[in-house]
Amino acid sequence: MVFIIKLLSSIISGMNQVFKRRMTFRYPDQRLFIEGDGYKYDPKTGIGINGYRGRHILYLEKCTGCSLCVMMCQGISQAIEMKNLPNKQITVNKKSMFPQIDYSKCVYCGFCVDACPFEALFETNEYELVSYDRESLLFTPEQLAIPPKKRPEPTVNLKYGDSDVYHG
């Protein structure tokens, strides 16, 4: 008898879920919205600024080619290397050496952003970096300098209803 009562209460609890909204969302018709601008770092106070850690963005006019980001990543995943761009003449970067990032190795930890003292390397919200071959995952400095595309509409984010959770 207790068996039947417990079974009935579990059936009722399961049936309650049928009338609530579903939690999943339909990617790629709907994409997740991430607020903010990406992870940044302030070298004067030594504290990072809150944000999502996705693809990097490089400000070519600020980068001096000091290779501190390369040295930090040597112990983590060796994803950054310096590359010589002869036709970019920037006053602070005499040797014209800029970082290139291999996204097949990067673990998105953000320590390279923490290592840069000149605010030249930040991270953005973009996380859709799939490709068909490995060579196109190696982003040259010019490719890293392009700001990220705006996420195509419609975007959803997590919303809380009365007793359910849904993406809307």
Binding site: S10, I11, G14, M15, Q17, V18, K20, R22, M23, T24
Partner: protein, 397 residues
């Protein structure tokens, strides 16, 4: 077939192909010759039926294919096509309903509205795959088991009374026919596992055998309660006897025992030990691929519909229900009520699937041989009590 290595095997293959061709062509031509006596007559009928469709119906009646013939009943309604359509849509409904219970969506893209054509997409995918039989198995036997299981399931449909006139075969011993067919399924499952000649299917088939045999007895005894109350073995008379009150109100314990045994015989979750466990790959279904697997699944779901129909007939009052269609459509009304009740029984089985984990084999067998057996005997004594006292007059049985 073996590879062509000698001239004699080549000749053997050639003879098989020629004989096969001859048989097929003969059958085809004789069929055409029966239905098409002359091209001119067929042309006349087709032309005139545009203005007057009943001429076409008369022509088909003459040939024995009309709306009241056995051919129509077996093939279209309430026979195989009807059951196959319901089986396909129950697969869709089960996936959608379980998905709704689990915070997600289910099939969505096949078919314009909500993924209704998903089962058909699955069947088309299965047709294009390759049928593989393991080399150490007994090949023809192995491939004929799905056909046997589906045929048994379809044969169960022959005695199901969908409404007053629409039964394929009405006989005096329908209940015995049902239990004979249900009792054959464990043997077919065991043969399927044995013919695969592999370790995991054999373990799964043995478990299926234990499970199905253990639970036929409570099912029989609860059916015995119904048979005692009405005094006949004919399903149509059992429905007639429920015109005043449904049997589920007279014998709730019996209905509960029958429903539980029904789910166990069908090997649905939470009792799907022979099929999909996390330790015996897929049980006796492991070695079946493409259309053999599709055939097996079709057989399982048609059997689900047939057993739910038997439950409706015996406990839920068959085709009786208030008249919701205008007068003159009684038969359609009966068909609609029968279908609605069967679908409700199937939905209850699906809800139980979503809520429970799987049972262990020793707990299952202990429950079958002790608790359910005792409950079914209690039900039997209650039925005898109803018969012997005045209660049967009160209920109008």
């Amino acid at each position: 077939m073996s590879k062509i290595q000698t001239f004699s095997s080549f000749v053997k293959r050639l003879i098989i192909i020629i004989v096969g061709l001859l048989i097929t062509l003969t059958l085809l031509f004789s069929l055409l010759a029966y239905f098409v006596p002359s091209v001119k007559e067929l042309q006349d009928i087709l032309l005139s039926s545009f203005g007057n469709p009943s001429l076409m119906l008369n022509y088909l009646d003459q040939k024995g294919l009309g709306l009241n013939s056995l051919f129509f009943k077996v093939v279209v309604f309430p026979g195989f096509t009807w059951a196959a359509l319901i089986a396909a849509e129950i697969i869709w409904f089960e996936r959608k309903f379980l998905a709704k219970m689990q915070m997600r969506v289910g099939p969505l893209y096949a078919g314009k509205i909500a993924g209704l054509l998903q089962p058909i997409a699955d069947v088309i995918k299965l047709v294009f795959k390759e049928i593989i039989a393991p080399s150490s198995s007994d090949k023809w036997f192995f491939l004929s088991i799905p056909i046997i299981i589906t045929s048994i399931a379809a044969a169960l449909l022959a005695v199901l009374p969908v409404s007053e006139g629409w039964i394929i075969m009405r006989s005096d011993v329908s209940v015995l026919i049902i239990f004979a067919l249900v009792g054959f399924v464990p043997i077919a499952v065991l043969l399927g596992g044995w013919a695969s000649n592999s370790k995991y299917p054999f373990i799964g088939a043995l478990r299926g055998l234990h499970q199905m045999i253990a639970f036929e007895i409570p099912m029989l005894i609860s059916t015995l309660g119904v048979v005692l109350l009405t005094g006949t073995l004919d399903l149509v008379n059992i429905v007639y006897a429920q015109s005043n009150i449904w049997f589920i109100l007279l014998m709730p314990i019996g209905a509960f025992v029958f429903f539980t045994c029904m789910i166990i015989e069908l090997e649905r979750i939470p009792f799907d030990l022979p099929e999909a466990e996390s330790e015996i790959a897929s049980g006796y279904l492991t070695e079946y691929t493409s259309m053999a697997f599709g055939n097996l699944q079709l057989g399982v779901y048609i059997r689900f519909y047939a057993m739910a129909g038997v439950f409706t007939t015996m406990f839920l009052g068959g085709w009786y229900g208030p008249q919701i269609l205008p007068n003159g459509f009684e038969i359609a009304n009966q068909v609609i009520w029968f279908t609605i009740k069967t679908l409700l029984v199937m939905i209850l089985a699906i809800v139980l699937r979503g809520v429970n984990p799987r049972v262990r084999i020793d707990l299952l067998l202990r429950m079958g041989w002790s608790s359910l057996l005792i409950l079914s005997f209690v039900n039997l004594f209650l039925v005898i009590l109803i018969l012997q006292t005045e209660l049967s007059q009160i209920f109008g049985v």
